[in-house]
Symmetry: C2
Subunit: 253 residues, 2 copies
DNA sequence: GACATCTATTTTGAATTCAAACGCGAGGCG
DNA sequence: CGCCTCGCGTTTGAATTCAAAATAGATGTC
């Protein structure tokens, strides 16, 4: 349980230090900047989004800023309460479960498509990263391990050659990135070696171009990550999720 | 060939008939209304989105309308060209392929989750719909068939109990709905009976709660739909998609 | 007669403005 | 003493305004 779990703390009280004087406001510049600002955790969970302050920070008036907020709300990063402004959307354990499952579905899809479309070079690239990651695993180098891990998943995503998948993935990824449950693999050796074994299977299936199989492995891989992450987050938050399986959801309105 | 393929025709010349005087503009009302307006095909592919006219139609000023346009652009329904306004985003065959694959991934995920979480009643509901659909198939009742088909897929989605999955699905679904390649099943008996057989497998796997298997079937089901749709769309458009496999996509920026 | 250039009008993007809703605090009441 | 109500400043949501960019039209040239 390292630092970096602050769910409600001082983060928000930071005076929004005036960064660069804001570039000439290229079309999507503001949106991206604002999204990064939020994803990077500069605002605490549930905190009000200070419209005024952000206008100054980004050097724009409220009109374009509110446009960006609307987009971020549609992406699920913030909540927009009528007449009560925007707040950072806090993720409940239930939300996290959902996000991991969706992520698992997207990873599975990426794996399947990658098996159909990856070039030999791309597969070789993943293989190289895999062994590099294995090295980090042996040395218990968590940082290097994570870097390779992410590169592998991004490599598979890229090999899937599907722009819409990539952008959907990026959206989900952004929401998860806000959390940073830097899975405590170094504490939990079993999980780490299990993850490593799963990665062996991933590489194997990719090399055999066994799409359905790879998809299945990737989904389960994410499931296991989810379990580890929730285990951690629940241990930390000790926040019951009673409402969880309550609402059957009528889906697509 | 039936009607309803108009890709470029008179649709746009419609004078934007002033509909209802626009409700009291509940928070997301405008956005939803505008999205439906576009999804329903009231504007032709590539057509300019007439800001001014829509303001009148919905009874709002340009500010909230532009906010809505930004959101729709982020959803991929329209393109927003700097200083040149919004246009309806036309889907190339390449886009359609991507959409179908993503849809397949989402359906697969829904199926997998449904196997974990569906109640017996929900499975029974899908079973009922399945046999009703089979009846329509025997009678060659395309309309009834489609209705049941959609209900089955929505039923599985609902049983997956994942709000984020549902909303992602809805987003993709909306983009596809604009196309309406009312798959010419009545022309293509082979495809129709193949689809019916696939649905037998879907029901079977769901009843056995065989998640991975159901996911696989659903993905392939969508793949086959994709092939049929593209076959149709390409036959109609005769539009080459040369750029297709060109751009490897660096994914997640 | 076709093409290029310059001007007027329209459209876009963003700031400003304005009314309504909210939230906080003081004062009044039970 | 605690709770409720009223009023004031602040914040929000949306219309209006304004400058810059683009489009269309007119004019001149080759």
């Amino acid at each position: 349980m390292s630092a970096r779990i602050d769910t409600d703390m001082d983060v928000k009280s930071r005076p929004l230090a005036a960064a660069e004087p804001a570039a000439p406001s290229l079309h999507g510049e503001l949106l991206t900047g604002l999204r990064n600002f939020i994803v990077d955790g500069n605002l605490a969970d549930g905190a009000r989004v200070p419209e005024r302050a952000l206008c100054e920070k980004f050097g724009v008036s409220r009109t374009p800023l509110r446009e960006a907020l609307k987009v971020l709300a549609s992406e699920g990063l913030i909540d927009l309460l009528p007449n009560r402004g925007a707040r950072i959307r806090p993720l409940t354990p239930h939300d996290i479960r959902e996000l991991f499952d969706v992520m698992g579905g997207l990873e599975a899809l990426a794996g399947r498509l990658a098996c159909e479309r990856a070039t030999e070079a791309e597969i070789a690239g993943v293989e190289r990263l895999h062994y590099e990651m294995y090295g980090h695993y042996l040395k218990r180098d968590l940082k290097g391990y994570f870097r390779c891990n992410m590169a592998i998943h991004l490599g598979i995503l890229a090999a899937a050659r599907n722009v819409m998948l990539s952008s959907t993935y990026e959206g989900v990824s952004a929401r998860m990135r806000r959390q940073r449950y830097a899975a405590n693999l170094d504490q939990d050796r079993d999980r780490w070696s299990q993850a490593m074994r799963e990665h062996e299977e991933i590489l194997d299936a990719l090399q055999r171009r066994a799409g359905a199989e790879l998809g299945d492995i990737l989904f389960r891989h994410l499931r296991n990550k989810q379990i580890a992450a929730l285990d951690l987050s629940e241990r930390v938050l000790a926040e019951s999720d009673a409402v969880d399986d309550a609402e059957p959801e009528t889906a697509a309105g």
